[in-house]
Amino acid sequence: MFKIVHAEFLAPGIKRFVIEAPRIARKQKPGQFVILRIYEEGERIPVTIENSCPERGTINIVVQAAGKTTHLLNSLETGESILDVVGPLGKPSDIRNYGTVVVVGGGVGTAMAYPTAAALKQAGNRVISIVGARNQGLVILENEMRAVSDALMITTDDGSYADKGFVTDKLRQLIENGTRIDLVIAVGPIVMMKAVSEMTRKENIHTVVSLNPIMIDGTGMCGGCRVLIDGKSEFACVDGPEFDAHKVDFSVLVQRNTMYRDAEQRSLAEYQHSKPAEGKCAVTAPQGVRP
């Protein structure tokens, strides 16, 4: 059992949990993730690690409610526990001094991008961060990102905060302004990572994306997380989750992530139908959150 020592919403539907997991806290590096299972009948899902505190033996994870498990997770409070948390999984981000790095975080992906941005800054890079969200309420970790970036740009799809538009608009501006970019790291929705990748491919800018395919064990056993990289099967849990964006077959990733859509929708519907209307266990589907 892994105890939740603190839980707070960062935005509607996006919650940060500080979890007692001393072994993971000691080892976690930027770019890695955990897999968790909330209760005996629960599924195993990969979740982003925002950062960790080895001294206190805690890790921070950030979860956006999308399906049943993430809704259920986001109903948990300080003092409750998660049955299984395993990690840190995946290869860490390759942190070196590249020169100028643009870190792009889309939605909850910002939580995964943040520790990488911080480590890149620490390694001496000039870090330009672009954070995108659907609306003002969903912009997360703004202060944290600002603290580790030489420049921070924010976009919202609806223009309710900062600049209206997409992260790619900002990236295009940087490219058009002649900014020297040595590396782009993009973490967020697949459509966003694909758009970033297409833009940088034309400019020959090395680009890394962090992929989040369907995954079960996360330890290199089941092969469920296979992705098509340069025409070959690779496994996000042991070969990734970060890959050279220009080699990723995004359409296969999108297609494979729809494999259980019917079951996922059924699970969520049954869960929302059965949940108590009021009280501690109630999960309010936050407004404005894309399923």
Partner: protein, 481 residues
Amino acid sequence: MSPATKSKNPVSPKDRMKIPRQLMPEQPAQERAHNFEEVNLGYSAELAQQEARRCLECAKPTCTDNCPVGIDVKKFVEFIVAGDFAGAAAKIREANVLPAITGRVCPQEDQCEGKCLLSKKVKPLGIGYLERFVADYEQKMGTHVVPMVAPTGKRVAVVGSGPSGLTVAGDLIQKGHKVRVFEALHEIGGVLVYGIPEFRLPKQIVREQIDYMREMGVEFETDVVVGRTVTIDELLEEEGYDAVFIGTGAGLPQFMNIPGEHLNGVYSANEFLTRINLMKAYKFPVYDEPMLDLKGRDVAVIGGGNTALDAIRSALRLGARKAYVIYRRSDAEMPARAEEVHHARQEGIDFQMLTAPVEFLSDGKGWLTAARCVRMELGEPDASGRRRPAPIQGSEFDVPLSVAVIAIGTSANPIVQSTTPGLGTNKRGYIQASEETQRTTRKGVFAGGDIVTGSATVILAMGAGRRAANSIHEYLTTGHW
């Protein structure tokens, strides 16, 4: 028969050959094809004793020589003849810490029973059935004893709780060492829980064996991926273990690299079986992990090993309309246990032998609709000694399918190797370990099972575990490397 010892067997050696091999009671094929209950129901005491009386009590028993863990078959069978079932169990336990499991999943025809003298004339002694009988008897009667041994003060970390790790743990705890087993998944048992289905190895049996280990003092820690959560060096240097055994098991599934392998509906056997066995996806939505609904669908498995049969027989039980095994060689080369092939045929699995897929076809929206296959013919033997299959020109045909499960083997999981400096690996990425002592290239570090040999069987992994336990014990007591 050895003249030195007086046989307790009331039947004369000559007449023993006249007793037919006692049939294993089993669930009728038509019934069991629709449930996950165990296929074999187990011998009664009467059946077990009758079968045991068939043993010729050879002076030089070849059955034991051919057992990877060296069970004294003749002795334990003698106990059964005498009606001392607890004694039989204790005899087996001297060599094998998981008898209820090996009695169910060992390929006996290639091992003990394959060398049984009876098999020259009639059917071999049902050694596996007898092993299972005494193990189940012991469990049912609660006759197993927890041995008391003086602690040595030495501590051993075991990485992975599959057959090799459990064997190492069980053997070393009985030698007085403290043992802690680290498991990456949330359940103990490795392939015994995620891979082998309920109808062949009930999970309750695995849990009972593990509970027994706990009683003996073995500690288990789940949710630890050694190499990521903690490294081998940290276990040795910071956590104070005196030795480490690596038994991380089969690695990433292999694929055929043919077009369409990424379509929705194409699974690796590991994923397919993990969803069913570990995650109980077939009980969705009571369990949250989903899997594709197989009711009324056509399903094929590609491959001819035990994993392939486990997958396709699971698919049948989940309501598949047609269930095919597509295998590129012929019956004779199939690596699966003979009994599983027999059971699968009884259940109505359609074996498409000498057949290989060349492409998976889609509906244009990313979902599998068929496997395009070619017929094969066998040529000269290859490196494995089996005749090499070659496609027959112009023999292409399509098998309509909703789900295809690829069970053609695995490759080495890289996590431990890539995070342990100085740990030697072979060309294929598996850990180098001595065949005699299971020592790796790192002092104090031993390895065995699939992470050393590549995909093999439960009992071979246990054999490696047994050798490792012996040499770990020697290392811990002498300090010599």
